[in-house]
Each structure stands twice: as C-alpha cells, then as structure tokens.
C-alpha cells in the first residue's frame, strides 16, 4: 500500500492567545498584567466583550459576554474599543514571520493558521519553540502551538495549553489524551451537534471514535463520517495557502437594541446589513449568486434560510430585496433579537455574467450604457467623482 511510502506529515497549528487584547498590550505596555477587555460600543447594549486578557478571565469574564456583566464581575476592568486596522497589520506581520519557515502557511482567521512542516528538514519541535519565542520577542504576542500529523490534531493540540503552550499530539496519544474529552470539546462540533450526539449516548470523543462509521453516516450524513474520522485521528485535509483567497461567503449580522416585531425597524436593519454586505462585496470585487438570512428570536431560537438567484448581484438594493423577501416568507411574527444577511456562492466580478431577459433586455441595455459612462468618469476623475443619487428620491 502507498501509505508505507508516504512521508509522515507534520502540521503546526499556531493560535494567538487573546489576539486583540495582546495586540493592545504590545502597543501600550502599561496595559500589561491588567484585566483588559476589547468590546464594541461601550454605552450600548450591543457592547459585547469580543476578547479579554487572561487577567480578566480570572474574574470569570469570557467572550461573548455583555459588557455590563463583565464590569459587574471586575470593577476596575479596562475597556478598549476594537481597532481592526491595528489587528490586521499585526496579523500580516505574524503570518509573514510564519512564512519564513515554509511557504505552506494557511491562514484560517486573523489570529490562527496552519503550517505544513512535512518537507522542512529542521526538527519541528525546535521550529515550534523558535516561532513562539520570536512571536513574543519581535511582536510581543503570546501564542499556543500544536504539533501533530494532521490539521485536526494540531488544532486540538494548540487548544490544550494556553497561554504560551506547545503541545505534541501523536496518533498513539489519541486514546489517552483525546478520547476522555467531552465530544463538545472537539473542533467542529457545536452545541447543536453535541446535543444530538448525546441523544445517541455519545458523550466523549472516545464514544464517538468507537461508533460504527456506517451508523454515523446514517444519522449525520457525510458530516457524521467526518466526525468519526476526526475522533479516530484521521484528517487528510491539505494545508492550502490559497484557501483564504476563496471567499466562500460574506455576511453581517447585528443584535438589535431591543427585541422587536416592528417591520419598519426590521426593514431598516436589513437595509443597513445589505449596505455592509455590499461594501465588502465591492472591496473583494466579487458578486453573489445566493442570499442567506439569519433570524434569531427573543427566545434564542435561530433559523437560517437561503435562496439561489437567477443572476449574480452586488448592489445593496438587490441584497435587501432578496433578504427582505426571504424574511417575509419565513418570519413567524415573534419578536426578533438578531438579524443577519450573508452573500453566498461568490464569483469574481470580472468573470460573472448576467443572463439577459427577453422581456427586460431593453432596460439592461440602458443600464449598461449608464454604468459604462459612470466607470469612464470614475476612471478619469477618481472613485468619488460621481455617485448615483438616492434611489428613493429618484423614484418617479
């Protein structure tokens, strides 16, 4: 069998500890060693702790906790608003540092990523210590690193010792280290899945590993097989440096200031969300061929609904229109706590096409001429030189 000949894979998962808070501390050393929380709008109900330092965690504060609750737990809690520009810049420096060891670095989010060291000659453990030390010395950021034969085990390993941990997880360690853990601790298993697994008397990762893979497929589909494989330490996923470039979806959601059934308010929220989605679609220069909405009711019950579109879209008006249609179709009339809009099936704008319609192609032609004219003006005088007027005012 080919397996014998295959090189044994070595994967690192580098996970920054409380990234936003750590970045703030790195920029302002006076914050170091103090309970610090990064939170959204401070005076608002939406003020939610996004992340917090380990000192703050000692008081029982953990994200995503409302700010007022965190302040009750720790009166002298320092609070800072998030500064994403700063975090992005720091994230870029961090990944730059990781790429000094290998090109095979796959960013997963702003503060974590995988590295494939299979083809690197140096001792992986030595590299792990070197990376951790340099991240701390050069950027002032603490991290945890997992070393394992695949992505899943590396991710599980990096979670085991925080902060500043380095954990090796070998296949032979799985029964001793992984299997006693509760199944909810497994990366990729959320509350809902955990609950479902419990219904089948699966409580620990070991229980899951010892299940029959066929039975898992029957109960949970393809995902069931994946869970079963992971529990047995099997994960063939490659470290893909480009994966972060395929934007699968762009979404925004917001918790409302108060639970509401007011259609005027909900519609306004959808407009704002559509605007945010449009902005990011434009930034990434992609268009979307499917729209999804999230509705969370006051009782936390959450549903997502989506629809495919005949033609790709980017404009906020169309995002809003489709989101609102979906909402009207699926809303049960109960008070709402949170709304979200996500653009799915993204395609680069330049390679997207629109199928013309027999009954409306005349209008398309006119719009095309207009867009061409606008683009020409912008090209000559800059992006802000000309804007379309407010749609509502223009309506005849």
């Amino acid at each position: 069998m080919g397996e014998q000949n295959q090189k044994r894979r070595i994967i690192l998962h580098v996970d920054m500890n409380c990234f936003y808070a750590s970045v703030e501390c790195a920029f302002d050393p006076s914050l170091q060693g103090k309970p610090l929380a990064i939170a959204g709008d401070v005076e608002d109900r939406r003020g939610i702790v996004v992340t917090c330092s380990y000192e703050a965690r000692e008081f029982g504060i953990k994200p995503p906790m409302p700010l007022w609750e965190a302040k009750r737990l720790c009166r002298h809690l320092l609070v800072k608003k998030p500064d994403f520009q700063k975090y992005k810049a720091m994230s870029a420096r961090m990944f730059q540092l990781l790429r000094e060891y290998t090109d095979l670095v796959e960013p997963v989010s702003i503060d974590e990523g995988y590295m494939e060291l299979t083809y690197v000659k140096a001792d992986p453990l030595f590299i792990a210590y070197d990376i951790q030390r340099r991240l701390k010395d050069e950027l002032g950021l603490p991290s945890s690193i997992g070393v394992a034969p695949n992505k899943f085990l590396a991710k599980m390993a990096s979670d085991m010792k925080k902060p500043m941990g380095i954990t090796i997880l070998r296949k032979r360690d799985i029964p001793k280290i992984l299997w006693p853990l509760e199944v909810g601790e497994m990366h990729g298993i959320g509350k809902k899945t955990e609950h479902k697994l419990n219904e089948y008397d699966i409580f620990t990762i070991g229980d899951l590993a010892k299940e029959d893979s066929y039975a898992m497929k029957q109960r949970f589909g393809v995902n069931g097989v994946k869970m079963w494989e992971r529990a047995n330490g099997i994960d063939e996923r490659k470290v893909d440096p480009d994966s972060a470039n395929d934007y699968q979806s762009i979404g925004h959601s917001t918790t409302l200031k108060e639970d509401t059934v007011s259609q005027t308010m909900l519609s306004a929220v959808f407009s704002r969300l559509a605007e945010s989605v449009e902005r990011r679609l434009r930034q990434k220069q992609v268009v979307s061929s499917a729209i999804q909405i999230v509705i969370r009711y006051a009782n936390r019950h959450t549903i997502t609904r989506s629809k495919k579109l005949e033609n790709p879209i980017q404009e906020k008006e169309k995002i809003y229109e489709n989101a609102w249609q979906l909402f009207k179709k699926h809303w049960n009339g109960e008070p709402i706590r949170l709304l979200g809009v996500t653009a799915l099936d993204l395609v680069e704008r330049d390679s997207a096409y629109i199928q013309l319609d027999l009954f409306h192609y005349h209008e398309e032609k006119r719009r095309e001429d207009l867009t061409k004219a606008l683009d020409a003006i912008r090209k000559k005088y800059g992006d802000k030189a000309i804007q379309k007027g407010n749609n509502k005012k223009c309506k005849e």
Binding site: S351, A352, Y353, Q355, L358
Partner: protein, 380 residues
C-alpha cells in the same frame, strides 16, 4: 363483474394510463386505476386531475378476441400494485372477478390474487369536452412539434403561465410558442383541416402534459384528433383519450419580441456548430451561466471559446457557409444554444444577430417553420 382478458393487452392498457397516475396526489382515489367492461370491451382510466388518460381495449380486434365478458361492471384498483401484478402473472390470460363489496379476484394460471377494490362511483368524472373546435395532426408531426418547443418552457413558478406552451390557430396555421424569458422556441405548422374557419388563441398547455402526451402518441402518420375548449384540451388517438388542463392567464404576446431585422447573418452547419459548442461547454461552469463566446473571424470562419479561470480555456474554429453584415462578438449560455440546435431538424441553419446585447434568432437555412430565439449574457 367478471371477464377474461389477454394479459399482453391488459399490460399495454394499464401502462398507457399509468402515465397519468401519480402516487403523490391530494385526492386519494386518484392513486387507483378505474376499469369498466361491457360487451364492447374494456375502458381503463387514470388521472392526476391535471392530466387524465382513458384507454379502450376492444373486445375483438382484427379477428382476435381480446376479452370475453361474462358480466359487465366497473372497479377501481390500486394502480401501483395492479400494474406490477399484471406484468408478472404467469399465464397468457387473466380472469378478473369482482364481488359485491368490490373485493377482486385475479386468476392467471395457477396464481390467484385477492385485491381490495374501491367503489367506481367515487371516481371523479372526466372533463366533458364539447367537440366544436376539432382539428387533426399526424402523430409523428405532433411529436416533433412538442419536441421542438417544450424544452423552452420555464421551470420556475414565478410566472406560472410560462411553464406551458402557447398554442394558437389562425388561417389554418398552428403556432406553438414556449419561453422561459431567456430563450424562446416557436414552431408553426399548416393544418390540413376542412375547418379552415377554426381559430383560437392563448391555449396554454402545461409542459408536463405535453411531455407525457409525447410518450403516448405513436411515431406514425396516423392522425391525432385535437379538441380545444375553454379550460381543457383533448387528444384522441385510435384507442386513447388524453385530457389536459390548460393554464390560466394570458401568455405574453411574443410576436413583437422576434427581431425583424439583422445586423449580422451567418449560415452554417447545424451539427458542426452544435459539436463545437458542446466541446466548449465542457469548460464552462454551470454556476457561472455556462457561458461560451462566439466571435466572427471572416467570411469563412468563426471562433467558439470558453474560459474558466481555475480550470482552463478552449478555442475552436468553425467553418461557415456565409457571413453578411458587421463583425460580432457575443456570449451566451451553451445549454440554451445546444437545446435550440438540437431542435432544428435541418442540416444548415441561419443565425440572425442584431447586436451583442440583443436576442438572436436561429432559423432553418430556408423557411421559417422553426424559430429559436436566445438572449445573450452580458458581463457583470
């Protein structure tokens, strides 16, 4: 009721009406097949309330005895079970006997089935069709007309009227039009009818009905009689009646949508273009409207190409018979083009373009009995 029937005749009859019977119906009795026998023969009925099919098996045909009736009567049996049983019975004849409470015995060779039947009085009445507007078409021509138009009906329920094919008859000419608003297929046929004064408009037949009808009509010169009423259409062949509901609403007036002029006209081989598009579409992704591009090169050649950034590119030159007018670059959905070309039953076609952002028309090189209209795509 008691009778003996030739099993092959019964199999054919049951299969004929099964096409109208759906296991998913809101009216439970419609999962059954209705049988009525009298001295003349046997009538089988199946329906899903949109389509109804009635099939007659004569007692005697061409000197052959198909069935012997002892006592006439009527019964409804579960279609799914009945059709499977009939197919597998051992002997050449089947004897069927129905008791007072609709319990039904089926005997064939050494095999005997008892089935629970239902009261035939419960079965909905078939539409009453007044035979005023009657005309007829050869079976093979009817099948062809359906094949050339029905693929273009809409599958989306946003405009239900577009899920049907619009039939109209005027001055002895029958016109069938289907469009899903991205392409349009139109076929016209001269009707050899003594009823030249007969005319109708906006008779919209569900695409699904036509697909089923097409399976039943034989590919022969035998005439199919067609009866049109306000809300039903009836197709009559020798031993089969096929009823379909018509769609409510007004089909859009498509006559003005067909471009009259042309800026670029190409004449070329149907098969050559179809095969080139088929190859190019291998790299065109479904998710991105399956786009291929056509560029005129000179009077003898055009280029078909497709490009998927993450898969690859394809270019192909296709020889053309002639080109008149302006040069042209146009992109369109390969699937629409292939379906249109497959519907053209001629070796050479003429394509009339009026611009890269406007619909283009495909016609036979000579004549205009078939028109296929396709809307191009534009870049975002």
């Amino acid at each position: 009721m008691k009778f003996k029937i030739n099993r092959n005749q019964l199999i054919q009859g049951v299969q004929g009406v099964m096409k109208a019977i759906s296991s998913r119906t809101t009216i439970p009795i419609l999962t059954g097949v209705k049988m009525t026998v009298d001295s003349g023969g046997m009538t089988l009925t199946g329906s899903d309330s949109d389509i109804s099919i009635e099939r007659f098996i004569p007692a005697e045909e061409n000197g052959e005895i198909n069935l012997e009736v002892q006592t006439p009567g009527s019964i409804i049996l579960q279609a799914r079970y009945f059709s499977e049983i009939v197919k597998k019975l051992p002997d050449e004849t089947v004897e069927i006997e129905v008791g007072e409470r609709f319990e039904t015995q089926m005997r064939s060779g050494a095999s005997e089935f008892s089935l629970i039947g239902l009261d035939p009085e419960e079965y909905p009445r078939l539409p009453q069709v007044e035979e005023q507007n009657v005309f007829s078409i050869q079976g093979d021509l009817l099948k062809m007309m359906i094949r050339q138009t029905v693929f273009a009906v809409s599958t989306s329920e946003t405009r239900p009227i577009l899920t049907g094919v619009n039939w109209s008859l005027e001055d002895g000419q029958l016109t069938c039009v289907a469009t899903d608003s991205h392409r349009l297929a139109q076929r016209t046929v001269k009707i050899n009818s003594n009823a030249t004064e007969l005319s109708f408009r906006n008779v919209v037949i569900p695409g699904k009905s036509l697909n089923e009808l097409s399976k039943i009509v034989e590919d022969s010169e035998e005439l199919v009689q067609i009866v049109v009423t306000n809300n039903q259409i009836l197709f009559k062949t020798k031993n089969t009646l096929f009823f379909s509901r018509l769609l409510d609403g007004n089909f859009p007036d498509t006559s003005k949508l067909l471009p009259g002029d042309s800026k670029t006209t190409l004449v070329l081989g149907t098969k050559e273009l179809l095969q080139a598009i088929d190859r190019a579409s291998l790299l065109a992704r479904e998710g991105r409207n399956n786009v291929v591009k056509l560029v005129t090169l000179n009077e003898n050649e055009l280029e078909i190409s497709s490009n998927s950034p993450e898969i690859g590119k394809v270019f192909e030159h296709v020889a053309i018979t002639s080109m008149v007018g302006e040069e042209l670059k146009i992109s369109f959905n390969a699937k629409y083009m292939m379906e249109a070309l497959k519907a053209m039953d001629c070796s050479e076609i003429k394509i009339l373009f009026t611009g890269a952002m406007r619909p283009f028309l495909i016609e036979p090189q000579s004549g205009d009995s078939i028109k296929q209209l396709i809307l191009p795509v534009r870049t975002y």
